[in-house]
């Protein structure tokens, strides 16, 4: 097991790009390798040591043996865990854009808030965010109709707009509230939202499942009610309580299912 600890000592307002510092590339680096490494910043590269204190302990045979700990405010460190296939990254602070984007495996834990594009086009692995995420969590790349296809994203706080745009697999759990258009254009996969939702979940969805345990303020016309179910099993998951099931979005001949907690949404009964 190799533990790599990078402790922020200087905050750069120009973002650092961290896609080269994932377990897959650094598992055989020693401290000196990190000290010699130049990190991309804007149109230049500067020594990583300008920004971080570096500690490396233990050895690793492969990425699976690596634990990277990023200490401090990573609010200007982009692409943490980008395309990682294995190993573990822990961020003790906030994370910047694209955390866990295109992730294939391993785990990423953010003990703070995360910016937009968490887990964009994720294919596998686990992401856990203890705070909030902004827009486009678990989304596709702009123009790409095949979005997140696997893995699990768990957000304990709130999620911003357009969660999981074009989702085509995997699971997303939001503990808090969620802004407009969660699961827009989704074709497959599972989204569960613990809190309240403002408007229009599942707009233009073709398939997949959205579960909302809180109150929904606006439902789209494109959703047809299919009845009320008690303790339903949804995508192999046992939900507790009464749920209203909808099918949609009719506008695109969608066969997606939207489950709303019946108690919290009595107005729709």
């Amino acid at each position: 097991m190799k533990t790599i600890t990078l402790t922020l000592k200087k905050f750069s307002s120009i973002a650092l790009e961290f896609e080269e510092l994932i377990p897959d590339t650094v598992y055989n680096w020693n401290k000196e390798d990190f000290e010699n490494y130049q990190v991309p910043v804007g149109n230049s590269r500067f020594p990583l040591t300008n920004y971080f204190d570096i500690e490396v302990e233990g050895d690793a045979e492969g990425p699976e043996d690596v634990k990277m700990i990023l200490e401090g405010d990573m609010g200007r460190v982009k692409y943490i865990g980008y395309r990682m296939t294995d190993g573990e990254i822990i961020v003790n602070g906030d994370a910047d854009l694209q955390a866990g984007a295109e992730m294939i495996g391993g785990s990423l834990k953010i003990n703070g808030n995360a910016e937009s594009y968490v887990g964009r086009e994720m294919r596998g692995g686990n992401i856990e965010v203890m705070g909030n995420v902004k827009e486009y969590c678990g989304t596709s790349y702009i123009g790409e109709w095949r979005g997140m296809s696997g893995g699990v994203i768990k957000v304990h706080g709130n999620a911003g707009k357009q969660l999981a745009d074009c989702m085509s697999g995997g699971e997303i759990y939001i503990g808090g509230n969620c802004d407009i258009l969660a699961g827009i254009h989704m074709t497959k996969g599972y989204i569960e939202i613990g809190g309240d939702v403002t408007r229009w979940p599942g707009g233009q969805m073709k398939n997949g499942t959205i579960v909302i345990k809180g109150k929904l303020s606006y439902l789209l016309e494109g959703f047809d009610p299919e009845g009320v179910f008690v303790d339903p099993e949804v995508d192999g998951k046992q939900l507790a309580g009464k749920y209203i099931k909808y099918k949609g979005d009719v506008g695109v001949n969608g066969k997606g299912s939207l489950w709303l907690d019946a108690e919290k949404n009595r107005n729709l009964l």
């Binding site: 307002s13 991309p40 486009y136 016309e221």
Partner: protein
């Protein structure tokens, strides 16, 4: 309105000039020229004519730099260009913004400079029709050249835009009033519809006004699409519109021979932004199963679409393109101007043919106040107040010829009618000069 006598005191007329105001790019203007001034403009709307004629007002005429007291002082061209080149050459996160009111020829030089130094290049789409472009990328883009509407359309819908005020000749020249090949009676052969919360001047002259509530656009379009799929609407009123009105409107749209939907920033900048466009495009695609429908965004500046086209053919991405890593990268929210400024990333900002000082959110402008700003423009404006170096350009379509792309992507060569002020330089020349000087600095540093 006061009656004004026609201008008769002029030396000569330059015909078929192209208006350098809005995205309609009317190319039928006649400039009446006297002593190297345009003294009158024929055929233009008031917006276009006033821009073309009253342009000497607040014109930037000499290069300027801020002195130690923070006052802009006149300097010679070499001093200003060298100082600007020095800033650009030493920047880590330079951002070059604007371009929508200059020529494609100038953009070419700008992109070379951008690529050379590893900057971000972006245009006004980032604050106007950027969401439209995103929606197009998500779901498609059934559009047409404006003559298709003129010759064929029997229903024209405007939504989230008020062309009577913002694109004054749009209805007259392209969409509603002109006699077309298949619409010989012009306005009488067409149904004009406006969907807009406001009773705008365009709504006032429409046959049908659909006043959906603010932020109701997405749900409104969603309801029409559901009706098209044969669904019975649940709610009696959707987005403020009675159910029956939506059903009737859907029927009417299905039964025209050729329908055109024009939309503006009223659609791109309400709550669900690009998703409004996304669903409107979906709606037009659905309607094509019944009859012919097309749509088009009402672009603002005369070359805002040109920049998106130019960047797409040069680099595969339409706006907000980041070259800091040596290859182009396009990621909304990450490589787009306002986001970068809000994050306080850029360390040098060059603005050309745009006015962020007037248009950007406060947070973005606060960062501009903190970093060196180079301005290339023809007018004194709020951005000049933020600028540290001012490089006076020339007026495309009046003083300098160049290529632009109309809102429907028709390319137009804009000719020049008069000479630019002697102390000004063409935008293309200025940007190329910066490029050459930055190259020299960088080569010497190697």
């Amino acid at each position: 309105m006061v009656y004004e006598e026609p201008v008769t005191d002029y030396d000569h007329i330059v015909e078929n000039c192209t208006c350098a105001f809005c995205g309609s790019n009317c190319d039928d203007l006649d400039y009446l020229v006297k002593g190297n001034h345009v003294v009158a403009v024929r055929h233009a709307c008031r917006l276009g004519a006033s821009k073309i004629m009253e342009d000497e007002d607040q014109r930037l005429k000499v290069p300027m730099m801020r002195d130690e007291n923070g006052e802009l002082q006149e300097v010679d061209w070499d001093t200003a260009l060298d100082a600007a080149a020095e800033l650009i050459a030493n920047a880590v996160r330079p951002l070059f913004y604007g371009w929508s009111e200059t020529s494609i020829e100038c953009m070419k030089k700008g992109l070379e400079l951008t690529e050379y130094v590893g900057a971000v290049i972006d245009n006004q789409a980032t604050i106007c029709h950027g969401p439209t472009v995103q929606a197009v990328q998500n779901v498609g883009y059934p559009l047409m050249s404006l003559g298709e509407v003129k010759n064929r359309a029997d229903m024209v819908v405007y939504t989230g835009s008020n062309p009577m005020n913002a694109h004054p000749r749009h209805l007259a020249r392209y969409s509603v009033f002109p006699r077309g090949w298949f619409r010989q009676r012009g306005r009488f052969d067409r149904t004009l519809v406006t969907w807009d919360p406001k009773f705008s001047d365009t709504a006032k002259m429409s046959d049908i006004w659909v006043p959906f509530e603010e932020n109701g656009d997405y749900a409104f379009c969603n309801a029409i699409r559901a009706v098209l799929k044969g669904k019975e609407l649940k709610e009696d009123v959707i987005s403020g519109i009675p159910k029956q009105d939506i059903i009737d409107l859907t029927e009417a749209m299905k039964n025209v021979e050729f329908g055109a939907l024009f939309f503006g920033l009223g659609l791109t900048h309400t709550l669900s932004k690009q998703r409004n466009i996304d669903i409107a495009i979906g709606l037009v695609q659905d309607l094509n199963a019944y009859t012919k429908w097309v749509l088009l965004p009402m672009r603002g500046h005369f070359n805002v679409n040109g920049f998106n086209i130019f960047m797409a053919y040069q680099m595969g991405f339409p706006y907000g393109v980041d070259f800091c890593r040596g290859y182009p990268r396009y990621m909304i929210g990450e490589t787009t101007t306002v986001d970068l400024l809000n994050r306080e990333e850029p360390d040098v900002f060059m603005v050309i043919a745009a006015d962020p000082g007037a248009h950007f959110p406060g947070g973005a402008n606060m960062h501009l106040a903190n970093i060196p700003v180079i301005q290339i423009d023809i007018h004194w404006g709020p951005s000049t107040e933020l600028a540290d170096i001012v490089l006076p350009g020339t007026f495309i379509g009046v003083e300098t010829a160049g290529t632009s792309y109309r809102m429907d992507s028709v390319p137009i060569h804009m000719k020049s009618a008069i000479n630019p002020p002697e102390t000004c330089r063409e935008d293309e020349w200025i940007v190329n000069e910066l490029y050459e000087r930055v190259k020299k600095i960088k080569e010497e540093a190697k």
